[in-house]
Symmetry: D2
Subunit: 395 residues, 4 copies
């Protein structure tokens, strides 16, 4: 009944800054809390809003040194790069269309980037960004946070070790209900930018949550996508982007077994679902089921044996899960701990990078800029397929 | 805490016969038990197997009068039609390909038909059978048994009353795992005929369980299908029919709201799923979720209000559910009670028909031959669409 | 995916009669349905109500031969004993206080008795009845129906086989909410007799549901009670019997391990609970949990291993469960099937008894008159202990 | 979909120190993480272990200034009291027997105390400590952390507002399984001190988890205890303190309704239970159920209406829950967030106290030293009652 890992490293925190995340934002506060949870990061700079007054007020509220509260990300990148105590990493938590220019500025300034998903608002930017990352030699961590839940890691490990046999079927879904009504027309900030194609990109639900479902399916199954067929809808009158997507997936064959098939359903108009990300995978030897709202549980159903409920930090949980666990079994961990796990991984990678030429330990895992490119490609393929009446489309 | 309905009618049982359902069969025993549960039917004749020895032994085991144990359904139809105490109805529980000729024989003999699903093994037969039913003036009850669960009736009624608002999304799934391995090659009787296209028709999982999922989605939502796109697989080496189907659905518009969309996933190779039929429906005002394995519960999620768990015979259960309820809330009813409900409906219809020109009471509901035609059309559309790489296909 | 057992025996039904169970009754209809489910019994006689008009009307509704509808159980016992086609067994489903005289009449007439619980309304009657049964040589089956659920049988078998190791803790509970308000004052028939000490005996909830919880705990654990301490309440103003009981249990040592301890909570005033019978047992090697409302599931939690969910007819279900199973896993069975299992056991015992000196097969299990005596002793011990401020009391 | 509250206050963190919580400890790391989560506290001093080498190493690992790593709590209290930048509060996370002397030292040094439960290892110390707190004018926060879960607050508020009507029944349980085997004999540190009466006090499970269950029942129901009857066991051979407790509760009447009754079951030897704290409360109008392992859900069962599942931050969650919520509904919060909520409350109280004569805002709620006295009295009453064969005992 002791903690599965050491939660403090004693090495002194990593200095980081934030772009976006000012007052009224959601995900910025989540990033800050995740960064703070294990004492590995210290927020020292920010360009917290494109609105100067809000930026200033937000910085004051967070106790930032006023001279390190910047009016723009470009100013911040330049200024921080010059400081001897400048930030080592930046967290980009803006609307999607700002990800690319902001990331570019910091990479060019030699600063590691932690960036929210989807990577960018269009595929062209995504590819340019991937090239920039390669050239920069800097770390780029994309916060597909759900990949860092302990039981997701356990699931991935079980698949990789062949526990399920050959994978046949992958079912991912991500229903929500918060956009059931056209609240973007009432000035709700979260809704407004997410349904504005200029800020979000061509995809609505597909970009906001479809990418999470797709990324999770790929992350756990280890399978690569061959092609998809998508049927997108904007059910709410006046909505400019999709709020529901039904997608068929065909994976590439892995070995000699028949190629796996899958489905993704993501929706923002499904009353009763708050944040219903769920993944199910079935192979020749068994199945797995994981539900984000109850993340401490993993159902493992070996074919021909009783169903097993594996619990985080409980019997049956493996080392890959234990490494990202803070409290004993039965003491539930949640969304913020999962998110913080990704910041833990980032911290380990950044600390390794501090040592000249240092590479992250082999067991450090985080979504990369390449995963981000694939995510944006997924969104664009969905939109394209749907426009072509569901034609099978490659990423 | 009293029973919601009168379980015995006191009018004397309906005499019925059975085609199929001999030793080693599954669904025949279910029909007999369902027929017997409420004391409304009496089994008095049978052509229980195409194998004469098995037919005879099965009849003896069931205590049938030996002279009413027939070697074939055609013999049975003729002989029973002549008897003053002949059967009023027949239950057809054979492999799919026998449904049509058997039903034809009894309809032509003036005997009501209760028939297992899918209606026939091909669409041509289905249409001919529908025409025959119309001409015969006899009743035809298709045992899509899941439609008779009380909470399914409640769900349907709630949708019809507009409780969910305009329907946007329908998600149906029916995963099982019993065909994960090629057990049809080991002589397992249930598996053998279900995977033999000559007996089952062109669809495997699509005919056996996909039709149930489709029928249930239609039954509860009240929506009509416009077209579908299907991706079928036979994952198990050597299997001749599909064992997994991923289907996109487009419904016809109902009113001025955008047309609803849906998905069906059915599988016989999903380890951990025993009989996982599940239906979820979402509208502008709320959602519903029902799971066959736990049939006494119905989740109702009005948008913007706490989730509600409605229980069979409990608070919130309506009259349409109460009519098909035998025991108080908290005393679970199951699969057999649901099946027996359909026999109850059949009994009410048959008793009404006894009176010359008698029509069933208005609240009697059962799947008809038209539903059966649509079910077979669904299977054939799935197979056709899948062969055409998922082309959108009308029924 | 075939039925686990033969549901029809082909031997011709057992003729039985019923005392009580007329119009407006609950448990009588349940008994009839349970008796009918497997085709093993035929209802041919009845003294269905102490009210002659209701008795007659009830008999007509059930299609009984009018001359076998009796005005009293004593008349019925005498008349049926004389008939060559007289009943072989009687089901007694009256209020508790009638169990003893009715059972006495039929035992003395040489007729097997199936009797609802609790055995009698007081311990003196219970003991006299046990003596009568012994003297009569007739079968006596007490319908503690919950003991016949397949997963309860499985649990019992696992405990007996030592799967849990030495038992340490037994937790049983049986909350309901139907008597939250004083509905006995409104003429609700079920409530009226259950809260009238003249008809129910000294115990209210303790007799009606506490006995079920106690019986189940004993049945599954195999442990014998040493003593109990009870705190009973009648929370509803004006109620004459207990509607909530909190009980501490001390079991006798089984072997060298420390004696097990337990608790029973039963309530009729716990809003939200419909019929919440639940049993949990913990030993040195593992635990078990079973919930009546979801009876197809059994949680098995081996210490130090993942939790296992065993499903009726699924992987992990043993032969003792399979014998009492009608449909494949995932096709839920419920309260009526569980009840019918007890009638199955009764049928097997009665058929064996038909053969002179015939004893039931060894695997036939049903609650006996001795279990009934113990149940009434439990009720009286609860009442006595509670009156003595919770003094530890032996049965 | 925005965060329910402001997670950062911008006022500069509260300086605090820690007693206990060195390497190998469990709850110390939890306190630190909880303190850090919202950026309200900064750890600047510690007497982290009674073992000087471990204290030093632990301090280094946490990055403490070496001169503020103390060899004893008394040294620390004196030294910090003298510093202009001395700690404002101390977190005491030692074995129970050290709580009293450590708290005394800091209170006398004018430093606020945050102390783990149970308050002390015996009632005499508890009462002395309460007196000291009163005299000191300092804040004393007892970390009965479960009281700070949002849905627990919601439950409490619903009871207080009369939503359940008059309370009749309270059922609390807290089963675990980690002490099923005698691991205290293997040197497992957590087990060793918890089963050593010199360090833990007279109660084992009763002090470690029974107090939590009791405190939670009191906190949510608002009822006061009249007396209890307890049956304690040490099932594991050689164990010196109880590892299982069965307790009957009688509450004092609240108003004119009959006094409520209750039960507590707590166990450390119940295989399958990881940390199974659960509370159920039933009144004349409805019931509530909350389970710690799934803390984002609260079942509310109004009598005669469908069951409602209220979710943290979802529809139906009230302001008292929203104030302690960080992320939107469907994004699960867990044990650490619940614990951090208590540190939030502490922060608000301490910030108010900074202002001369400042009192905490009225909505700040935390367990006090008086709750702690009652908790220790509960343990001693359990032990005393059990020794007297379950005699009813007042606190």
């Amino acid at each position: 009944m002791v903690s599965g890992r050491q939660v403090e490293s004693g090495q002194g925190p990593i200095r980081y800054g934030m772009v976006g995340g000012g007052q009224g934002a959601f995900i910025g506060a989540v990033h800050r809390l995740a960064a703070r949870m294990d004492g590995e990061f210290e927020l020292v700079a920010g360009a917290l809003s494109s609105d100067p007054a809000r930026a200033k007020a937000s910085a004051a509220e967070l106790g930032l040194d006023p001279e390190r509260s910047y009016a723009s990300f470009s100013e911040m990148a330049k200024a921080e790069a010059k400081r001897p105590d400048g930030i080592e990493a930046v967290a980009i938590v803006t609307p999607n269309n700002v990800h690319y220019p902001a990331a570019k500025a910091f990479l060019e300034a030699g600063i590691h980037v932690i960036c929210d998903k989807p990577l960018t608002s269009n595929l062209a930017d995504a590819k340019k960004l991937a090239a920039l990352v390669g050239k920069s030699g800097k770390l780029f961590i994309l916060t597909h946070n759900y990949t860092a839940y302990p039981m997701v890691r356990q699931a991935r490990d079980m698949v990789a070790r062949g526990v399920l046999g050959d994978i046949r079927v992958v079912q991912a879904e991500y229903p929500q209900d918060w956009l059931t009504d056209p609240i973007e027309q009432t000035g709700q900030k979260q809704a407004a930018w997410r349904t504005d194609p200029k800020q979000s990109g061509a995809g609505g639900a597909s970009g906001d949550i479809g990418t999470h479902a797709y990324n999770l399916a790929r992350f756990v199954s280890g399978l690569e996508l061959a092609e998809l067929s998508a049927d997108l809808d904007a059910f709410v009158p006046g909505r400019k982007v999709d709020d529901n997507l039904n997608v068929l997936l065909r994976f590439k064959p892995a070995g000699k077994a028949p190629a796996a098939k899958g489905m993704i359903w993501a929706s923002q108009v499904a009353p009763g679902h708050e944040n219903g990300l769920k993944l199910r995978i079935y192979g020749t030897k068994g199945g797995l089921e994981w539900v984000q709202a109850d993340p401490n549980y993993l159902w493992y159903t070996p074919f021909g044996q009783p169903k097993q409920l594996i619990t985080r930090a409980g019997a049956g949980a493996s080392q890959v899960a234990a490494r990202l666990t803070r409290v004993p079994s039965g003491h539930p961990e949640g969304y913020l701990e999962g998110f913080a796990n990704l910041y833990q991984e980032a911290a380990r990678a950044i600390r390794a990078a501090r040592r000249k030429g240092g590479k992250p330990p082999k067991d450090v895992i985080y979504p990369t800029v390449q995963d981000g490119v694939e995510g944006v490609a997924f969104v664009e393929a969905c939109v394209k397929s749907s426009k072509k009446n569901g034609a099978w489309t490659k990423l």
